[in-house]
Amino acid sequence: MSESLELITTSSDEGTLPLPEPLCREIYDKMLTIRRFEEAVLEIYTQGLMRGLAHLYIGQEASAVGICSALNDDDYLTSTHRGHGHLIAKGGKVDRMMAEMMGKVDGYNRGKGGTMHIADMSLGILGANGIVGGGMGMATGAALSGKMRGSGQVAVCFFGDGAINQGAFLESANLASVWSLPVLFVCENNHYGEYTAASDVTAVREHVAERAAGFNMPAMVVDGNDAVAVHQTAVEMVERARAGEGPCLIENKTYRYRGHHVGDGDPEKTYRTQEETDTWLAKDPIPRFARRMLKAGMVDETELESIDADITKRVEDAVTFANESPYPTADEVTDHVYA
């Protein structure tokens, strides 16, 4: 049995902000951009301007941003069906993302992929994914490639608590470990798959990160609503990976504030309790980080408001851009089947 894992959090120390100010500003900006972007997605979806399935990342912002703020531009990531946050955190442009949500030609994938498949190869974003566990092998392969090319690049594989029960996890984690590949397996444990509690379908003592022991890789259990804790953990693990010391498993404990996807009902009426949701709402990563910036004297209330206004405007502009972009023409349908 593995020794028990301690939760990595800086919550007892919220009076301080041990990161440089420009980084703090970037983290806050990215988290709030994700929040406002997802709120806009909710709105356009509800208005019928967007089709398909919209899986919102609201509540989990500190996980994507904490991890990606420890990466270089040319590092890789693989994402999931709940991928909008990962893309924004890695530098994805909200206007091109929004256009993709609506299936427009100016979208990242020229409208061919939609919400679950956005990629930006120039930013190392190898794609969101409609298949649960679908990115695990790819992240491992990207790390292998980086290692073989001697590029120093690392790969981050984001996945959910549900995905850790896919066979692909065992196969990828084992491969990454025996070959000492620079990959960070980042499990975003939001405690539910679609409508089933992780605890009902996952055989672990307490944390899914315990599984790392079986692959001889370090395990980190992190307060996933604490951007500082996530960032610091990621920095340490990225450094280790770049030094050739191999993969790790990071479990970010977090919560999605909305349903599994837009339009699938009120989770608090079915598979979760209001009480549970409320305890997580109290740990909302964005106000938590804002309070720390305030205490550290990096910003005041007025500036927080103007940051929000700027971001809101950027997202509104993205929606306008997407609305104005045309659908791809019919003849594009046969383009890109092959390279």
Binding site: G114, T270, Y271, Y327, E332, V337
Partner: protein, 333 residues
């Protein structure tokens, strides 16, 4: 004397078939992702957990290979599992257990073993679900000896075929079109109502052309038949209902009458169900044919997300009508 009928939806047909078979045989059980407490992502299995309890209606981890393997193992050893794979696209993850294990057991063991496993999964595009949630992969398992395949187009066919498949001693797959769960239709009001595999159904009679159509395409073919009627072309719509075994007799008899055939299926056209059916018709009904057998399938492209691109990739009645008109070119021009 005829059995009374009730009108239910395609989705309700699933629920009724499973519930009736679970009442009838206590070795029948049902498992899949989010199927129990939530009643499935398409809400078609709501209520089964309440009636049968957690032992027989199981929410599983997201582990398609593992669930399918567990289904095969339970089926080998006295149970009759029904395994749901939420989207047919995800069946790829469970392929080894179906293709190399379940399908081969009976034969490889010289008839000692049987695998009475029912797999339910979905097919169908049309809701901007993009390339990994929209495929119609029915050809894949139809290719495999040892697996039986049903592809029902109506609530009555779905209910009858699903019940038969649960009672069958072989691995069977039911492909349900996710766009049709709300479709209503009459079903016989009889707990023992079943439909044998390998019996096609003539969904509409006609004397000038045979449209062999599967699943959602049966409805497309019926619409096309109405349009063709106005041009004086009588289309007969034949629904094979099961792809394996396949009722060629009914198809051949229809072609004998009409002398022309078009095959339509929602999957990628190349190397699929339409290819198999067309070649069998060309081969077995050659003497009756006045025109080449034509095929209509989806475009050979991954299903695109954009509402500006997706619709044209799926066969529709206009395309079917044009294809049929082409067969009458010599006569009408």
């Amino acid at each position: 004397m005829s059995t009374p009928e009730r009108v239910i939806t395609y989705g309700e047909a699933v629920r009724e078939a499973i519930a009736e078979e679970m009442r009838r045989d206590e070795t029948v059980f049902f498992m899949g992702e989010d199927v129990a407490a939530a009643g499935g992502v398409f809400k078609v299995t709501v209520g089964l957990l309440d009636e049968f309890g957690e032992d027989r209606v199981r929410d599983t981890p997201i582990s398609e290979a593992g669930i399918m393997g567990a289904g095969v193992g339970a089926a080998l050893t006295g149970m009759r599992p029904i395994v749901e794979i939420m989207f047919g696209d995800f069946i790829t993850i469970a392929m080894d257990q179906i293709v190399n294990q379940a399908a081969k057991m009976c034969y490889m063991t010289g008839g000692q073993a049987m695998v009475p496993l029912t797999i339910r999964t979905t097919i169908g595009a049309g809701r901007s679900s993009a390339a990994q949630h929209s495929q119609s992969l029915q050809a894949w398992l139809s290719h495999i000896p040892g697996v039986k395949v049903a592809i029902p187009s109506t609530p009555a066919d779905l209910k009858g075929l699903l019940k038969t498949s649960i009672r069958d001693d072989n691995p069977t797959v039911i492909y349900e079109d996710k766009m049709m769960y709300g479709l209503k239709g009459p079903v016989p009001d009889d707990d023992d109502y079943t439909i044998p595999f390998g019996v096609a159904d003539i969904k509409r009679e006609g004397s000038d052309v045979t449209l062999v159509a599967t699943s959602s395409m049966v409805h497309t073919a019926l619409k096309a038949a109405d349009m063709l009627d106005k041009e004086g072309i009588g289309a007969e719509v034949v629904d094979p209902r099961t792809l394996s075994p396949l009722d060629m007799d009914t198809i051949i008899r229809s072609v004998e009458k009409t002398s022309r055939a078009v095959v339509v299926d929602e999957a990628y056209q190349s190397y699929g169900v339409t290819g198999e059916l067309a070649s069998r018709i060309a081969d077995e009904a050659f003497d009756y044919l006045d025109a080449p057998v034509k095929r209509v399938g989806a475009m050979d492209v991954p299903v695109p997300f954009s509402p500006g691109l997706e619709p044209q990739t799926i066969p529709d009645e206009a395309k079917l009508v044009r294809t049929v008109q082409g067969l009458f070119h010599d006569v009408t021009v």
